[in-house]
């Protein structure tokens, strides 16, 4: 058996009566990048939130390095440290400077001392072209800068897997590029990533596999060329057609 970095086994999740994830299974290899596409409400975000244990799954299992992390009896905090998450609306801490946004978790959770955490944060920010923004506050930055800070904040915990939840959806079109550059860099370093995205061109470029989600199920998963070029499922074809028609591809 090949060792999978992350496996979802028959994951189900409902909010009350509404079924959001219906039997989702997928194996993700180390350093693999998976893009989830699908219309709004198809369950992309919920899927990522479940992997980060922000939402408890109703049934099924999520395995990280073969260990079931979705066991309700487990303390989720140490697991979350190993999985980074970046949100559509950045969710930076508005009362902390950019530097402290990045240094907070390593200092408080990672137990590195404050000045080490800050040095490390400064390096990360510099890597993403934010060296001159360390003392600014989130509200003083552009959306693209804020999202790059959010990625740096997540990386500061040295996660083994990154979950990117529509990280460019809230950005002006001219700011999308700078954020995607950061994701490209992560891929080059071999980061395992799951991303929910509306950026079809980017999904095609960066993902090893693209999965089409429809009404809480993965209808098909394939290499980008195959999925975009020759979708097997009728619904996938319809979705891609709508994307093309709306001028987003």
């Amino acid at each position: 058996m090949t060792p999978h970095k992350l496996s979802l086994v028959s994951v189900r999740k409902s909010f009350g009566e509404r079924r959001v994830l219906a039997d989702v299974s997928i194996d993700v290899a180390s350093s693999e990048v998976i893009a989830f596409i699908g219309s709004s409400g198809s369950g992309k975000s919920t899927l990522l939130r479940c992997v980060n244990l922000l939402e408890p799954v109703d049934d099924g299992a999520i395995l990280l390095d073969g260990i079931d992390i979705s066991d309700p009896g487990l303390d989720p905090d140490p697991i979350r440290r190993r999985i980074g998450m970046v949100f559509q609306s950045f969710n930076l801490f508005p009362h902390l400077s950019v530097l402290d946004n990045v240094a907070l978790a390593p200092h408080r959770v990672g137990r590195s001392n404050r000045s080490d955490a800050r040095d490390r944060a400064r390096d990360l920010l510099a890597r993403f072209g934010l060296a001159d923004k360390t003392s600014a506050y989130p509200d003083q930055l552009s959306g693209g800068q804020q999202q790059r800070v959010a990625i740096a904040r997540s990386l500061a915990m040295d996660p083994e897997v990154m979950l990117l939840d529509e990280i460019t959806s809230a950005l002006d079109p001219e700011l999308v590029g700078e954020v995607l550059d950061v994701v490209r860099e992560l891929k080059d370093q071999g980061m395992t990533m799951l991303l929910a995205t509306h950026e079809m061109a980017f999904a095609r470029e960066i993902a090893d596999r693209v999965c089409f989600l429809h009404e809480g199920s993965i209808l098909e998963c394939a290499s980008p060329d195959r999925l975009f070029g020759n979708p097997r499922e009728e619904r996938t074809r319809q979705f891609l057609q709508r994307v093309v028609d709306s001028g987003r591809m």
């Binding site: 980060n52 922000l54 979350r80 999985i83 949100f87 969710n91 930076l92 801490f93 904040r153």
Partner: protein, 285 residues
């Protein structure tokens, strides 16, 4: 086009001219209406049949001069009581607010206690809490200093006001968006760390103006302690009233409170305006 006002490249814009005109007009109207109202009061009130007596018993210059220094001295006690009650109220109120948010089953009694506490002390008039605590507890026959009315009066104020303040803190905590918690938890912060480093700092900032309001209100309610004995400014004014058979000392006491609360409320207004500016909303005229 050149005959339109304010279209010159260097002169004021049309908008600026309009606003200047409006501003001038508002000032004229405000001054005129104030003069009319104040004039009416000055002319009409002395015409009332009882004005002579009211002036003698409430606006007596001699009595004022004689009693005011003593009142000011007594007011220091009000300030002292305020100074030790306010921090206790803020700390105790915050702890109550945090206790209400506790979700651990083992600590359910704590949550229940905090909820019952705020219900009780928000429901009972402050004055009754002071009377019940101030007369009831020393009635247990405790020795000095444990029978002091200062102590139990202060305790009563802390009990009553911490219930209000706890609700203010709770509203602030609940106003911090869930996504902030999600971001903190996703980094591996525990729920306690999330509260301490992410939620509370934002919540406290948001509730500073309403908290200041409660503090101004506390400043005035300190006078209620006079009911159980301590000679603070209201009590002193009552004594002087009896001594001089004149109500002017009450006016002096009121003046002392105003001297303190007006700057306080201005600070509150200033903080509220600053916050409004920060969140980006502008006043609609």
């Amino acid at each position: 086009m050149s005959d339109l006002p304010g279209t010159g490249a260097s002169g004021p814009t049309r908008r600026q001219l309009y606003e200047r005109r409006q501003r001038r007009r508002s000032i004229v109207v405000a001054v005129a209406s104030t003069l009319i109202v104040v004039g009416a009061i000055v002319v009409l009130v002395p015409k009332t049949p009882g004005w002579y007596r009211v002036r003698r018993s409430f606006f007596n210059g001699e009595t004022f001069a004689e009693t005011f220094p003593r009142l000011a001295e007594a007011f220091v006690l009000d300030l002292k009581i305020f100074a030790w009650c306010a921090p206790c109220i803020l700390v105790w109120g915050l702890l109550l607010a945090l206790a209400r948010g506790v979700r651990t089953p083992a600590l359910f009694p704590l949550r229940l206690f905090a909820a019952a506490y705020t219900d009780v002390f928000r429901g009972v008039p402050v004055i009754l809490t002071i009377l019940l605590v101030g007369f009831g507890i020393p009635g247990l026959g405790l020795d000095r200093p444990w029978n002091s009315p200062y102590l139990w009066g202060s305790v009563a104020l802390v009990l009553a006001y911490s219930a209000y303040v706890a609700e203010v803190f709770r509203a602030g905590i609940e106003s911090v968006h869930e996504s902030q918690r999600a971001a903190a938890r996703s980094l591996g912060l525990s729920s306690g760390q999330t509260m301490r480093h992410v939620v509370l700092p934002q919540a406290v900032r948001r509730v500073v103006p309403p908290l200041m309001n409660d503090m101004v209100s506390l400043q005035k309610d300190v006078a209620l302690i006079s009911l159980i004995g301590p000679i603070e400014v209201l009590r002193q004014a009552g004594i002087d009233k009896s001594k001089f058979a004149n109500f002017t000392p009450y006016l002096g006491a009121a003046l002392l409170f105003i001297l303190l609360t007006i700057p306080e409320t201005r600070i509150v207004d200033h903080l509220q305006n600053r916050q409004r500016r920060r969140t980006g909303a502008t006043a609609i005229r």
